[in-house]
């Protein structure tokens, strides 16, 4: 009877001892998580206040970021979005740090992979933000230049330029994030290359006569004899 009881109690005791060993780690994780969330909330509060102070929302309205958010059916202030993004990044980082405190080998690997991936996420975000600004600038410049040139398709051309540049930037972002790199690269090459070839053919075929005329005019000017100099020099 005692042996039977031992058979039952020993595994339970072992589990209890393991749990006793694990408990400090779990408590450490919970404390890290709690402190991290509190810190994230505080940082979000300070960041949002700071963004309000520098009138970030107004700047976003003028730069078109707000319109971009609305296109994605996101109806909050841009500063609140930035605050929210920072908050959740901090929560995720805290969660990873907390999981690291558990000292479980499998989780440790996952945490290491996460922290290794973070720089890529940051650089992708920077590429996206700078790329968007650059695209808006180029598109606006094209619109103004073509409209001032008196062409009625200025808006169409500016929009086409914006779409093409955004495609290129998205491909760069995906490549940076290492998401289906091969497919993205191939798709981008095919699409971008296709557009360029289509434009080249369109302009090339359409401009054959013009090109011929220019070349012929050039040769004609070179071959034409110079008129005699009628001016009498003193």
């Amino acid at each position: 009877m005692t042996d039977f009881l031992n058979l039952i109690l020993e595994p339970l005791q072992e589990v209890f001892l393991k749990f006793q060993d694990f408990l400090p780690n779990l408590l450490a994780m919970l404390v890290i998580l709690l402190l991290g969330i509190l810190l994230a909330k505080l940082l979000r509060f300070i960041l949002v206040k700071f963004l309000h102070a520098i009138e970030f929302d107004n700047w976003s309205d003028r730069m078109g970021f707000t319109a971009l958010m609305r296109k994605g059916d996101l109806w909050v202030k841009p500063s609140a979005v930035i605050g929210g993004v920072v908050f959740w990044i901090l929560v995720i980082v805290t969660l990873m740090a907390g999981l690291g405190a558990l000292n479980v080998a499998a989780i440790d690997t996952l945490v290491a992979q996460f922290f290794n991936y973070l720089p890529r996420v940051f650089s992708a975000a920077i590429i996206l933000a700078v790329g968007y600004l650059f695209t808006s600038f180029i598109s606006r410049a094209v619109l103004i230049a073509v409209a001032n040139g008196g062409y009625h398709y200025a808006r169409l051309l500016a929009e086409a330029m914006r779409v093409l540049l955004m495609l290129m930037i998205l491909a760069m972002v995906m490549e940076q994030l290492q998401i289906a790199t091969g497919i993205v690269l191939a798709a981008f090459s095919i699409l971008f290359g296709g557009i360029v070839i289509a434009l080249a053919i369109a302009f090339g075929v359409g401009g054959i006569d013009t090109a011929r005329r220019i070349v012929e005019q050039q040769f004609a000017e070179e071959e034409a004899p110079k008129p005699p100099d009628d001016i009498e020099h003193l």
């Binding site: 929302d57 107004n58 309205d61 003028r62 078109g64 707000t66 319109a67 971009l68 609305r70």
Partner: protein, 402 residues
């Protein structure tokens, strides 16, 4: 039947004989192919629960020439908004509802406010202005018609006659105001009869000939809430957000266009809508509030055009107005007698006394703050300050209507 007399500096389009509605609508359908027409309806949810809005919706189901209907819905919860969508769905034209209390539209207002472009408090002015913005954002219409949503005697003739002068490519008008007789068994329209007309004529007596006063005096019903205009005008006109909406809008039309491009049209033989209480003792509500806002709007428009106002001038104005209003009152009494209409002379005299106080209050407010509440900025300025505002507005309304 109306007479054909042309008065004032704008064109008056009378209802002469019995013009066929079918002919009007058929011509409008033709015009709408090159000049598509949008109908803007600023409405409160409560108007859907009364007799007016169901009648208007019923009539609109028969209208075929409209390109789009934009209903600016105020004071409605999400549930009420969905109910209104159901009610409006019987109209064959594409209907979009601007849910003013909705999350998305609230965010659009918030975006405007933080950029120093305040759209003012909730009201008809703000609703109408945002609806014009939506029509401009869609870019699918060249003509905008607007009428109130509390008209109990609504018929689609009103809409057809209102749209015709602007939609017609052969008539060169950019703004058309509706007019009608406000007569049931008695004469209504006290603010127009006993305040605006006598006040304008008193000011003409005091300041001499003035373009804006002549322009304002040319309208048979300057406070009518029904008008049509080109979308170009909707883009450049600013709008007051208070009761000075109608007079202030006319001031903007006067400022931006020649009177030759402005007309008024007889749109209804009878017109009945909800009546406001006079509220003679409280200038914060009823007709008194309306009267004060209208007077302030007229004073500010004239001041911005170089007219100098002083305390002594306002003292003279009170006396001049009182004499003008009393004379006008006598004329209406005679008119009522010959037409066997009820005419409570005592009530009318009390209204004149109340309006005299309203003029004094408006004068005081003007002297204390000549600038007053700024007008809602025009859409050209708004789109210059926030380049993506049209996309934002279109997205907000379209998403709400999905």
């Amino acid at each position: 039947m109306s007479d054909f007399f042309q008065s004032g500096i704008i064109t008056t389009l009378h209802q002469l004989g019995q013009p066929s509605l079918e002919r009007l609508e058929s011509e409008l359908a033709g015009f709408a192919k090159t000049r598509p027409i949008a109908l803007v309806l600023p409405a409160l949810y409560s108007e859907f629960e009364g007799p007016a809005m169901p009648g208007i919706v019923q009539e609109l189901t028969k209208v075929k020439y409209l390109n789009e209907v934009v209903l600016a819905l105020d004071q409605a919860t999400e549930e009420q908004f969905q109910r209104v969508r159901g009610i409006m769905s019987v109209i064959p034209t594409e209907v979009k509802i601007v849910h003013n209390k909705g999350k998305r539209i609230a965010e659009v207002y918030e975006t405007l406010t933080r950029n120093g472009l305040d759209a003012g408090p909730q009201g008809k002015g703000r609703s109408a202005w945002l609806s014009y913005g939506y029509v401009l954002a869609r870019g699918k219409s060249d003509v905008i018609a607007l009428h109130d949503c509390d008209i109990i005697t609504y018929s689609r003739t009103l809409l057809a006659r209102l749209c015709y002068p602007i939609a017609s490519p052969t008539l060169n008008y950019v703004f058309c105001k509706g007019y009608y007789s406000r007569v049931t068994d008695k004469m209504n329209g006290r603010v127009t009869r006993l305040l605006v007309t006598p006040l304008v004529r008193s000011l003409q007596q005091l300041t001499g000939e003035h373009g804006f006063l002549t322009f304002l005096d040319s309208f048979r019903y300057p406070l009518a809430g029904e008008f049509s205009m080109s979308t170009e005008l909707a883009r450049i006109n600013r709008i007051p957000s208070d009761w000075g909406l109608e007079v202030g809008s006319l001031a903007e039309v006067y400022r931006n266009y020649s009177p030759h491009r402005v007309c008024q049209v007889d749109i209804a033989a009878t017109y009945e809508h909800k009546h406001q209480q006079l509220s003679a003792e409280d200038a914060q509500k009823g007709l008194m509030k309306m009267a004060v806002d209208i007077c302030k709007s007229i004073f500010r428009t004239l001041a911005s055009d170089g007219v100098v106002f002083s305390e002594s001038m306002f003292r003279s104005l009170s006396v001049t107005y009182l004499r003008q209003a009393e004379d006008t009152l006598l004329k209406y009494e005679s008119d009522a007698k010959i037409n066997a209409l009820d005419f409570d002379r005592h009530e009318e005299a009390k209204a004149v006394e109340a309006f005299t106080r309203a003029i004094a209050m408006a004068a005081q407010a003007f002297l204390e703050n000549p600038m007053g509440t700024p007008l809602i900025p025009n859409w050209n300025r708004v789109s210059a300050a926030i380049p993506g505002i049209f996309d934002m507005l279109r997205k907000a309304v379209d998403e709400d209507n999905k």
